[in-house]
Subunit: 154 residues, 4 copies
């Protein structure tokens, strides 16, 4: 089965899942327009994924240092629903997952921590390659296992 | 006509257009994996758009300071084709555009400055709103005019 | 009494203080040389100060939104002692303070969370000005009170 | 002769030198307080130094890829004189230099491109070490030569 990207609606309607990464918007995340600069949203997505993996026994720093495989991003996208401002307390929910042989898609939803109103949704598509970047490689088992615990990925 | 996002293939095949924003990958744009961090690609897209607008008489700083309208991003996406490394000399081409009454989509292609091999494509979808963020607003004429000069947007 | 900057040695020898802000080095904090980019250290300093103030009842976001005063930085410096790498678990200690009528200096020490070996020390010097930026202003009492609780600032 | 840091006054009074790196403040360089976030100033310093070295035949990317030595930063500092806002057209002047056997200090002044009013001054102190980071190493000749062309470093 080839991967399929989630729609905005699917990500908005997805269950919260077991994992929730909380953060507060920093002074320097906001730009001259007074709201979080759109590219920062992708950093929030990524930071939450790193923390999720760490909590599931996949240490990306060790993986990078020792590793035989890498999982670079092939596609990333975000839909912006409500602006984020300095000090806003938010949570990233890893609300959807898809896991294939050599690739994975992770779906994210950023919500206001108090009340759960959605501010953004999005996804990142990762493809496993060998260290030379020359060939596709299978997702390492602990990585695939962690991702299969995401809503819809089992 | 409702907006439609460009496909990866359309962005890869699009003409270069008249505008080209050159840059070199900075030390701090690269992450611990040795390649440009994926979220930086969106900064390159945005920096090139600001420069394009400036060159076409639309000063976003003045617009923000004086302005009655804002053009926040509703959707952004990128496809990553080749990794970028420290010192790589690149160019962003604004290779596609779509302009509606109150919204616009800008398509980008990042290529290696020497040779033109593509490294990434993507798009940002902006929606004009009044200063309170409460209602849609028409794209200001100089802004719409600049965007209509993008390939496919006329 | 005019402000005096702390020396590298004073910051290294200072007590840890009551506050400690823990973090892990992110993928994107590291640059093409494989270590944390030097300017990120200042972000760690600042993030820890914001969190310290928040925990002492000073909400900088609210202060900025409502505020009659601002506390821009007049001087910042850092000494780099050991490189930080992706995944390193660190702590920022607010280890020294100096509080005057209209200005304050905060001293920081970044240590490896496990073992306490120092990686960097530094300081930021803030000057309170009125909202127009035209005149010096007294440090607001809750802000001054929080800062006076730093080691050496009482 | 041991290195000595430049004073704020020395950096303000130093000649402009032959090199000038121009830039415009980006939307995302500005923070929630409406002015450039203080840590960005260090990125401007560093970006200008990389460009200066490149123009003098020292390609830091190639040096990093091939290199036997590294020049990590031991100390960095900045004095903030005037706030920078989105769209401000600025120039970094490499206005002072000091070159020793194994280390160097570079002095910077950021001025408004139109008129030359200073906005910030600062310096970075780099120490050359072998690739393992274990021992001091001599500054490679092309690197030392480029730095000796800075005002006061000859």
């Amino acid at each position: 089965m080839p991967p399929r990207y989630f729609t905005r609606e699917e990500l908005l309607a997805a269950p919260a899942g077991a994992f929730r990464w909380e953060f507060a918007v920093r002074l320097q995340d906001v730009d001259a327009a007074g709201i979080v600069f759109f590219a920062r949203i992708f950093e929030y997505f990524h930071d939450s994924l790193m923390d999720y993996l760490e909590q599931h026994g996949v240490s990306m720093p060790r993986w990078l240092a020792d590793g035989v495989v890498l999982a670079p991003i092939k596609h990333a996208e975000a839909d912006y629903i409500a602006p984020l401002r300095f000090g806003d307390r938010m949570a990233v929910e890893l609300c959807r997952g898809w896991v294939g042989e050599t690739e994975t898609i992770v779906g994210y939803r950023i919500v206001f921590a108090d009340g759960g109103r959605p501010a953004a949704v999005g996804q990142t598509h990762h493809v496993c390659v060998d260290r030379a970047g020359a060939a596709r490689a299978a997702l390492p088992p602990p990585f695939a296992d962690a991702l299969r615990r995401l809503p819809g990925a089992g």
